[in-house]
Structure formats: C-alpha cells, structure tokens
C-alpha cells in the first residue's frame, strides 16, 4: 500500500508529532523526516552510538512520535565503543546477531543507510533491487564465482577491410532482379551443371499473349484471399488482420502449435468448433483439428460434417490421456463427467464410425443430464469427449456420426485417427451428424439413423459438445445418455452408428494411428476365428465383414441395438488402445464403450455381449482396443482384451 509520508506507519510510529508552532515548512520537514525514516525500513544500516559502538542491522522501526529511538533487527556489534583502535569488520568475530535490538534515542548518534532508494512514485525501487533472489538467472546461480553477467553491447559495424560485395546486397530482391546467379557461379567455379527447373516446383506460368490478364486475375484472387477476414487467429495474424474477438490471447494462444480447445474457441474453426470445444480436454486434440479435417479446411466445415463426424470420434481418443477417461464406457460413471464418455470416445476414435449411440453414450457419460436424452440417439456421439486431457471429458460425443456418411466418416475417421487430434470437436460434429439431431436420436443411435440422424446427431453432438458444460439438452435428447450412464459401453461396438456403414468405419479404422494411444496397451491381434460373443444372438457374430448397421450402433442403455457389437471389442479405451489393426470401424467402438461399464448393461441383455463382456472387462487393463467391433468377438477375445473399463476414464 502506498502511504503518504505523513501517515507513515512505521511500526513504532503513530502519528507525526506536530509541533504546535510548526510552520508549514517545518511541518514539511518533519514529514520528510518521517518519510525518510520509513524508507529506511528493511534497509541494512549502521548505527553509531554515543559510546562509539557501531551496530549493523536491519532497520525495523523508529519511534517518530517521541524521541526517535530505533529498533534494529538482526543487529550485531561491529565495533566496540570502548576499543579505540580500528578493527575492521572482518576481524571482528561476530556473535550471532540479535534478533531485535532496541536503541534508545539518547544513545543514538546517527544511523547511516547506504544506497537507499528514495522513490517518487510510491514504488520502492529498493525493494526490487534488494531481492536478488528473485532475479537470479541460471547462469548466475550455477556460477560459483561472481562473473560479469552482462557486457556492454556495441552495435556491430562491418569490418572496414571486408570489401562490399555489391552483388550480395540485393539478395532479398526478387530473383530476376538479383545480379547474382548462384547457378552460374557454381557452374563456373565447380563445373556443376544445374538441373534446376523452376517449373518443377511451381505452376508453370503461361507467359504469352494473355499473361497480363492472367496475372491480373491471379493478383486479384490473391488479394481477395488475403483480404478475407478470417476467424482463425493464426491466419489473421499472418495477414495482419486485427483479430476482432477479444485480444486477450497470450503468446501461447497465438503462436503455440498446441491447439487448445476452449469453449471460446478462438482458434477459429468457426462456430462449430466452439461446440466441439467441449471436447477440449484433449491436449492436442483440437476441435479445430477435427474440424479441419471435417471441414476440409474451415470453409467447408459443415460439409465435411458427415465425414468429420466419424473422424471426430476418433478424436475422442483419449490419446493424451493414457487413462482413457473417455472410457465413458461407463456411462454410469458419471462422476467424472465426461470422463466416461470420453473413454468411450477414445476407443471409438479409431472408429470413425462409432455409432452415434456410442458417442451419445459417451456424451451422456459425462453429462449427467444428457444421458437421458442421448439415450440412443447419440450413440454416435462417439463420446469422443474423450477426455483426453482427462480433465474434461467433454463429451466428445464425437460420435461417429452415424450419419449416413458413415462410410465417409469412417474414412474420415481413419484419417482422423491418424491425426489423433481428432478431437472431440469432430466427434461432436460427428455426433451431430450421426446423431442427426437430437430429435432423431434413437435413430442415430440405433445405427439405423443413417445420415440424417447423423446430422442430427451432430447437432446434438454439438450441443453435446458443449456438454462439457452440461449440455443437458443434447444429452437429454439423446436417449443415449441414459444408456451411457448405465453402461452404455456394453453396447457392443456394433451398435454404433445406426446409419453409419460399418464397413466404412472399418475400412477407415485401420489407420488408427492414435497419437495418444496407450503405450501400455497390448496390441490387439485380430483373431479371425474369433467368434463374436453374443449371448443372446449367436447369429450376431460377424466376421470381419462390414458391420451391419445395427450392429454398430449401440444406442445406449435404452436402446437395444443390434448387438452386433463386437463382443470382442475390447473395452474401448478411447484413444488409448492402439488400433491394432484396422479393425472394423469404430462403430464398434462405442459399443465397446459400453462395455466398459463394468456394470454390464442390463438393458441389452442380449445385445451385446456386453453383459458377458462386462464381466470380462477388466478395468485395470489397458488393452488395446482393437476395433473389432464389427466382430462379435467371442469370449476369448474378451480375455484378450481386457476391457479396461475405465481406462479411458482415468
């Protein structure tokens, strides 16, 4: 706090003792005295006493009201008054300093404070300079002896002797302006013949009669593009545009390559991104990334939705988080919020086509409220929410949008997967798409949703995405949520994506290169002979064949999706399990997610082996979640892949 000298609150000081007849000048001087005394606080001083002794200590207080007795802290005798000879300080064996040392005024002759800072503006410069500890640099710390840390910098001047090379002066000019031709020089100096052809690296320019027009046109287009406003922070920076939105981006936001998904979404994928941002918990996953993938570059964000959606799911991959929080499999595990969902998502990640239901589940996992709504519709949600960062299991309901574009999605997903970054955002999108709106949740969830549902799901998802914050509405819309909570996971992967063509997902899944794969997860070895386990529907077992729609889409607890889920689908650790092979689509992932729910899913009695699988899931293991959702993995599979039920969730 800044104080006026006159009100200085030196510890011992109360008020200024005003002399009755003090003129203003006198008062001023008195104030000064108090002020300067205050400035001395904390300063090492030397005190001379009447008897000649000298003490050194830290000035603590002075009695300015009375006679100016002072108090020192850590005072030590430097010089005995009685000794008349001079003893240098170093010779003097000091006793441990007194913690507090009081000197009455009549003993006090003078107090000497050296290098005291008396500042004008209330900021005590002395304080800063007295805190060398805070300003130590590494080099100063590591040096055992005092070195000069800085040297006087002088501007560089070129040597006089170096001849100016005129031909290098214009090195930054356009190539045709330069007088220096490196190729020629090399050839003459070293006999090296260059085979450089500019047109190998760039578009061949048609120079001819119309070159001028073409140039004009090109320039126009270029200007048009460059002049475009963009929401992307980085592009804006490059173009020199003042970013319209808030300017409170710190350096990291502006220049780091780490994309952070925030609700505010300033990274500019656009609105949709924001929604996906919920997913943000992914360290690197950025919705934008997914978005990008999805949109194929911002502009087309929406279009690519279909595709993106699927990919989104992948993003949920809890890549960053080894703990597949996402394992939203346990929808029921709501406590972690998105965690569950995310978990689901990650697993799904590889499955672009995670059924919407899955996603939904994921989403619902996290979103308490959402569960209901999600129910099944969102299965595709792909709960990518993969809370990769584990922090916020944003409902990455990436749900691989069950949308009809599932195929494309799966493609996308695969792509996404590789990116791993497919964050949530995509999922959300996908969710939306897949879910095709909340209204049609069940559809989407059911895998049967088809594209439309996917789209809805997407929208749902979007809302879901924001779920992180509790998009209850979206969730609610999706019946999934319910399923999720319940344990949506159990839903065999198949359930995912009602509409998504499992095949697509399958194909795409292969890519699964999740960056955030769980390093500990065992690689999933696809066992072609494995029969999918389907307690109630033995026929459900499917070979690697394209996953029937219904099988993928596992809507959620409420939804009795065709349990084609791959029993074997190892609990999907969203994002964590390495994608052992291009196992079929993610769609299954979601179902897997459901698997995670250890609780088993009563709702799906037969559907998926879930119930059976549930038991199998061993929460603690990080099994790679092969994306064999399409398969009804037979029980053996189960053993293989322990379903780390909550791995994603961790």
């Amino acid at each position: 706090m800044s104080i006026q000298p006159i009100q200085s609150e030196t510890s011992s000081n109360g008020e200024q003792a005003f002399n009755g007849e003090a003129g203003s000048l006198k008062r001023n001087s008195q104030d000064r005295l108090v002020y300067l005394t205050t400035c001395e606080i904390g300063h090492p001083v030397e005190v001379h006493l009447k008897n000649g002794s000298m003490y050194s200590g830290i000035f603590h207080a002075a009695d300015v009201e009375k006679d100016y007795g002072i108090i020192l802290k850590m005072a030590s005798l430097i010089k005995e008054g009685t000794l008349r000879g001079h003893k240098s300080r170093s010779e003097f064996v000091r006793k441990p300093p007194s913690k507090t040392f009081i000197i009455p005024a009549d003993e006090l002759v003078q107090v000497v404070a050296k290098d005291l800072s008396v500042s004008w503006n209330g900021m005590s410069n002395a304080v800063q300079s007295e805190k060398p500890g805070e300003l130590l640099t590494d080099s100063s710390i590591s040096q055992s002896y005092h070195v000069d840390r800085e040297r006087q910098l002088k501007p560089w001047v070129p040597d006089e002797s170096v001849p100016q090379r005129a031909d290098l002066e214009n090195v930054f000019d356009s190539p045709w302006n330069r007088k220096w031709n490196q190729f020629e020089a090399n050839e003459s100096l070293f006999g090296v013949k260059s085979t450089f052809d500019e047109e190998l690296y760039t578009t061949k320019l048609e120079r001819g009669a119309q070159s001028k027009e073409l140039e004009e046109q090109a320039r126009r287009i270029a200007n048009e593009i460059e002049g475009e406003t963009t929401r992307d922070l980085h592009v804006a920076e490059e173009r020199g545009l003042q970013f319209s939105v808030k300017s409170d981006f710190d350096e990291e936001a502006r220049y780091s390559s780490v994309r952070r998904v925030t609700g505010l979404d300033d990274s500019g994928l656009g609105e949709e991104d924001n929604e996906l941002l919920d997913i943000m918990t992914f360290g690197s996953l950025t919705i934008s990334e997914s978005q990008e993938l999805v949109s194929g570059g911002k502009k087309g964000c929406k279009e690519s939705w279909g595709d993106i959606q699927s990919s989104r799911d992948n993003t949920n991959v809890d890549q960053s988080c080894s703990t597949s929080k996402q394992q939203s499999k346990d929808r029921g595990l709501d406590d972690s919020g998105l965690g569950e969902e995310d978990n689901v998502l990650p697993d799904i990640m590889t499955f672009g086509s995670l059924t919407i239901s899955e996603s939904l589940e994921l989403v619902s996992g996290g979103k308490k409220g959402c569960e209901e709504s999600w129910g099944d519709s969102q299965s595709s949600r792909d709960n990518r929410n993969v809370d990769q960062s584990c922090s916020t299991s944003k409902q990455q309901s990436k749900d691989l949008p069950a949308a009809g574009s599932s195929i494309s999605e799966s493609q996308l997903d695969e792509r996404r997967r590789t990116n791993n970054d497919q964050e949530v955002s995509h999922n959300n999108r996908s969710a939306e798409e897949s879910t095709s709106g909340h209204g049609d949740i069940n559809e989407s969830v059911k895998i049967g949703g088809g594209a439309t549902s996917a789209s809805k799901a997407v929208t749902e998802r979007e809302s879901q995405v924001s779920q992180g914050s509790g998009q209850t509405k979206s969730e609610s819309s999706f019946g999934q949520s319910a399923s999720r909570s319940s344990e949506s996971r159990p839903v065999p992967s198949t359930s995912s994506r009602p509409g998504l063509s499992p095949s697509s997902s399958i194909g795409s899944m292969t890519s699964s290169e999740k960056s955030t794969l769980n390093p500990n997860a065992k690689e999933f070895k696809f066992n072609p002979k494995a029969k999918s386990f389907n307690p109630a529907q033995p026929a459900a077992a499917r070979p690697q064949a394209p996953i029937p729609d219904d099988s993928f889409y596992y809507p959620g607890p409420n939804h009795v999706a065709p349990v084609q889920q791959m029993p074997g689908m190892p609990p999907v650790n969203y994002g964590v399990p390495p994608y052992p092979g291009n196992q079929p689509p993610m769609m299954m992932y979601h179902p897997q997610a459901y698997y995670h729910h250890p609780g088993g899913q009563p709702q799906y009695p037969q559907q998926q082996m879930v119930p059976g699988q549930q038991q199998q899931m061993i929460p603690g293991q990080q099994q790679p979640r092969p994306v064999y959702y399409t398969y009804q993995q037979p029980p053996p599979y189960q053993q293989d892949m322990q379903y780390p039920p909550n791995q994603g969730r961790e």
């Binding site: 706090m1 800044s2 104080i3 006026q4 000298p5 002399n19 000048l25 006198k26 001023n28 001087s29 104030d31 000064r32 005295l33 002020y35 300067l36 005394t37 205050t38 001395e40 606080i41 904390g42 030397e46 001379h48 009447k50 000649g52 830290i58 000035f59 603590h60 002075a62 300015v64 006679d67 100016y68 850590m74 001079h86 240098s88 300080r89 064996v93 000091r94 300093p97 005024a105 009549d106 002759v109 003078q110 107090v111 000497v112 404070a113 050296k114 005291l116 800072s117 008396v118 500042s119 004008w120 900021m123 005590s124 410069n125 002395a126 304080v127 007295e130 805190k131 500890g133 055992s144």
Partner: protein, 217 residues
C-alpha cells in the same frame, strides 16, 4: 521550541528550523568524531533528528563551494566506512546514502551553502514493499553463519540455492532434518531420512566439486 536540550550544538530552539532548513549543506561533526558533509533532507526539532543526504566532496564540485575533505582525519572511523563510497554530488534518488543524525550530538556545523531541496515533491513510500524488503534482508542476514569459515559459508550459500538450509551454530541444517557438520564433506552428513540424507550428500558432493574444494569423501 519546546525541546531545549542542553546539547552541544543546539542553538536556540527558534532557529532550529532555519538551521536545518531543507537543502542546506553542512559539514557536520559529531561527538563520536565522525564527520561528513551532507544536505539536509529532513529535520524535526522535537526529537531533534536530522537526515542528511551524504556527500563527500573530493574536490570542489560545486562552483560556489569549497569543501574540504575532513574524513581523512578520521581514518579510524573511515575503515568502518570504507565502503562508503559516497560520490561527489548528491546521488540520484535511487541510491542515496542517508544519515539520520541525532542533532544533540552534533558538535559542529559548518555551513557549506545551500542547494535546491532534492526532495521537492512529496514522495510516497510503499509500506508493503518495505516490509517485504525487511523480510528479505533478515533472510539474507540469517544466511550468514557466525564464526564459520569462509569455505563453510560458501558451501552454505551453494547448498541453499537448491535446498532449504539454515545455520545451526556452526552446522548446516538442511531441510530441517539433515545436519552437516564441519568439515562439511560427505562424511559429515548426519540425520534425516535415508533419502534426504542421500540427497544432501549428493548435493554436497556436487557443491564441493564445483567449488573445487576437494577433500570430499
């Protein structure tokens, strides 16, 4: 003036204000034999304390002043002030040497003239920062071992860069549990948990190596 202490250099109270008017430059002599030149920065007649901004003139820096360097006469005291490298003119605001003098003990005041009051504006003092400063100062003082060798002090300083340590008489107490006794090598590390002990040993070894003290077991 109320205060009419019978002191050596006290004139009648009424003139105190003038005597110690702000901006006056004096060559001051004290009963302790100390002498200095300074500019009056503050004064209060009640406690009869004045604050001087110290200057040592080595040669005439003021065109209209002739200042003599009295301090040479008091070598004895100068040793103590050897680091009092006060400059030839008033130091800038951020690095003053101030003397708060009990005017009762001023034996002689020699008027050297007058300068413009250096603290014309009313400055502010930030008490919080001052308190912080004090805490830091105390901390720094505590770091100095009493009666320890220079080598020990160097070791202490180095250890304290990374580990919390304090002096315990002549021993170094690290992390409140591990004691390092003289001669402060790896053999002299006692106490603490196994891990802490090992850590301290390790740090000590590195410190010694870096300080090239050798003799480390």
């Amino acid at each position: 003036m109320k205060t009419a202490k019978a002191t050596v250099a006290k004139d009648d109270g009424g003139r105190e204000g003038e005597k110690f008017a702000l901006g006056k430059v004096y060559a001051v002599k004290l009963t302790t034999g100390d002498e200095f030149n300074g500019i009056v920065l503050a004064y209060d007649s009640v406690p009869n304390f004045a604050i001087f901004d110290i200057l040592f003139f080595f040669r005439n820096q003021y065109s209209n002043l002739v200042v003599f360097f009295f301090c040479l006469e008091f070598c004895g005291f100068l040793d103590g002030f050897s680091d009092l490298q006060e400059g030839t003119k008033p130091k800038p605001l951020d690095s003053k040497t101030l003397r708060m003098v009990n005017a009762n003990y001023i034996t002689e005041l020699k008027n050297l003239g007058r300068v413009k009051d250096p603290l014309a504006k009313k400055p502010l003092a930030n008490l919080d920062e001052l308190i912080k400063k004090e805490v830091n100062g105390i901390r720094d003082v505590e770091r100095i071992g009493v009666g320890v060798t220079a080598e020990a002090q160097m070791i202490f300083d180095a250890i304290t860069k990374t580990l919390p340590a304090r002096w315990d008489n002549k021993n170094i107490l690290v992390m409140r549990e591990v004691l390092v006794r003289s001669p402060y090598d790896s053999d002299s590390v006692f106490g603490g948990t196994r891990a802490a002990n090992d850590q301290v040993k390790n740090v000590l070894k590195h410190v010694r190596k870096k300080l090239q003290l050798g003799g480390d077991a």
